[in-house]
Symmetry: C2
Subunit: 447 residues, 2 copies
């Protein structure tokens, strides 16, 4: 009988692994269990679906179950939820929601890609029907349905992280008259330093989003959100408080978990038990700058980890060395990006650091469409090692973070960054790219 | 008496040095000689002036002579040309074109930033009045005047490098009915591999530029350009055959010259004679991948070299380690970029290599405005070291070259590039950035 690989989770972390394993092991029986209806979709695209940039929910699906079955010989079973794993007996308990039955499925190899679930703080009324997390296409479908049904006048977004910002913008662009973001912290975007977060908050306000920072939510009831500062009308509530690894299945089976109870994996995506692998939002990653494990639930990471798991599952050799914490988003025409360590993270990692923040232009100053860009750079004291950067600016600003991510990964000093031979032509950059200007300034402080 | 620094050349390589020296040595007497009327301008902006994107020639001037005099205490003398240098007597012979007189000027330190001049092949009629190089603001002023006077119906651009492409586009956008680019090589853009150059040629044709590759110009006469394949009507001719270092002054003085007779400098921008410095288009650079001297006349290089020379001149310590050959341009909405070694250069450097060329999307495929991007990557055989890349694609494509430039400089392998934590969100990139996809493909071939 063929060896069987059971994959739990039909999104990036699961299906990238299944595809890679199939490519290398045509003999393997591969069963992929997905609780929902969809496979391999872009959850990151949900805000753009809500905004109307993307016409149909199906546009977010990269590869549907039937394609996996037909072209990759992967037995994808949607509406199937793995409810327990017995590592000794090497079998999974499966709930088939389509037929309301439960069965067990044996495996030779198991790959867990159970993803993450939106954080739902323990507050009165949190389980109300109009309080939406945004993590899966099911979530998106419910949210869209609700938004169309109630013709929301007032939308409240709780939490001003990436998803919070993107959803707030989406509802404004959808035509919702009042969109309010409530954030406990002093500034929006806690993954930026407060001075940079403040710039993003300002951009949000200019776009017409009501931003209430330093405000805690105390509870929910139909039609309103309660905060310390009073009641906010709310036809619809979106939770943007981050996600937690959906590691219950793994933990229940006895697999080792770590940061935020994410599944612990080695660089080949192996869990603590032989023959059991994991990838994506349910897993830990290793932060290459802080040298510590982190939970970084991002589509890129899930795809890369899934691929690495699949190569190894298929008998090849691949590793996922880790992350530097790169992320990007935009609020209307203001682009926001970050990578490496911010001030708080550098302190937490025990590193002494210096910073510089510069203003420059996205293109040559005289070129039409040149917009403002602010770059803040963090470098290690004494050594001058580049630790990270944050960017807020006009169109063309954000993708510059990739230069910093590359330089951080390579361990360059800010002096070495100053010398980088970056591209220049008036439509693309000032003669000194803003990243180089920031490096030049922080290099002075380090010296 | 104060020590005197004489700077020859008032553009980036000269004035960046003068400014840095001034900052560190308030006591220094600094005289800057500029043959033309302008200082510190963006020659790279000339095509956009011709196209009409930039309204006035003065918009291209970063800092004018009076500002240098008033704010930096630099004695800028425009219309002054250095005609000879006597290194033993430490003095410069100067022709003052404003007053038609010649005088000598002693120096303690000399900084040469004499730039480059457009290549003018020795062909019949090359010195005709309607045959324009595009290197200085004087060139731009003449060209604009001529273009307005003759209301050009037919413009012929000789040479399909960066300036040739940009000027051809500029004349089309200016409204010129027939713009023809004549190129001796098989494809446009000789700094790309032919397969990538062909894509640029196609973009030019789609934009309405007549592209005649594999065609040599044999001579010029008023109203026409002669080629091997016959006569082309031409009210106006633009030379885009590259530039040669304007190193006559340095060579005449006995300073060492190298590649293309560019002035030889060490990493601190010192020439072969103590107390004599040089920077910018008249100088050599060092190529960090081929490990050979090169002549790379670019504004970024001139600015950086000028800054380094000025820091050292002022008693500080700075070096310019070298270049990786990064360049970027666009033809209408098609962006073009390259860095590191292309196939021809890798061969010339004696390196075995593999390549991969991939097609991807500038944004998530489902996101509005997603456009095509082609990335070709070159990696060293066996070691997998990234050697270079070329990009042709829609808006947002080109600046990705900076990631490659950074990775090449850091000596990363293509496997390490695959693992880079580049930013992803649907408006900015597919979940696998095209650079990572290219790295993944070339990594397969290397293995």
């Amino acid at each position: 009988m063929a060896e069987r690989l059971v994959v739990v989770g039909g999104d990036a972390g699961g299906m990238a692994a299944a595809s890679q394993a199939r490519r290398r092991r045509p003999d393997l029986e591969i069963v992929a269990l997905e609780r929902g209806r969809w496979t391999s979709y872009s959850a990151c695209g949900i805000p753009y679906l809500v905004a109307g940039d993307v016409a149909r929910l199906d546009d977010l699906v990269t590869r549907d179950p039937q394609t996996f079955r037909d072209r990759h010989n992967i037995d994808v079973r949607t509406g199937h939820e793995a409810t327990a794993v017995d590592l000794d007996a090497r079998r999974v308990e499966v709930r088939d929601h389509n037929h309301g039955r439960t069965f067990t499925l044996g495996f030779d190899h198991l790959h867990l890609a159970t993803g993450a679930t939106p954080v739902r703080p323990d507050l009165p009324g949190i389980d109300g029907p109009r309080i939406h997390g945004v993590q899966t296409l099911e979530d998106a479908a419910h949210l869209l349905e609700e938004a169309e049904r109630c013709d929301a006048e007032n939308v409240v977004v709780v939490g001003a992280g990436y998803i919070g910002l993107e959803m707030a913008e989406a509802f404004v662009r959808r035509g919702c008259p009042t969109v309010t973001v409530v954030e406990q912290g002093a500034e929006v975007m806690a993954t930026l330093d407060p001075d940079m977060g403040a710039m993003v908050g300002e951009a949000m306000r200019q776009f017409g989003i009501v931003v209430r920072t330093g405000t805690s939510v105390t509870g929910f009831e139909p039609g309103s959100v309660h905060t310390e500062d009073g009641r906010l009308p709310a036809d619809l509530v979106v939770l943007g408080l981050g996600v937690a690894p959906a590691s219950g299945l793994a933990a229940g089976a006895g697999l080792e978990t770590g940061v935020k109870e994410a599944v612990v994996v080695d660089p080949r995506q192996r869990t603590s038990t032989e023959g059991v692998w994991a990838a994506g939002d349910c897993c830990q990653s290793f932060h290459l700058v802080s040298r510590r494990p982190v939970h970084l639930p991002l589509g890129t990471v899930a795809n890369k980890q899934g691929r690495v798991a699949g190569v190894n599952l298929g008998g090849g050799y691949a590793t996922f060395p880790g992350v530097v914490g790169t992320a990007v988003t935009k609020v209307c025409s203001t682009e926001v990006a970050r990578t490496g360590l911010d001030e708080r993270e550098a302190t937490a990692a025990g590193l002494g650091y210096e910073t510089a923040r510069i203003e420059s232009s996205t293109r040559a100053g005289y070129f039409p469409g040149a917009g403002r860009i602010t770059v803040k750079m963090v470098a290690e004291r004494r050594t001058g090692r580049l630790l990270g950067a944050q960017i807020v600016g006009a169109e063309g600003a954000a993708k510059r973070i990739d230069v910093v991510a590359t330089a951080v990964t390579a361990g360059l000093t800010v002096d070495q960054v100053v010398d980088l031979d970056l591209s220049y032509a008036p439509p693309f950059s000032p003669v000194w790219d803003p990243v180089l200007v920031a490096a030049r300034e922080v290099a002075k402080v380090v010296r």
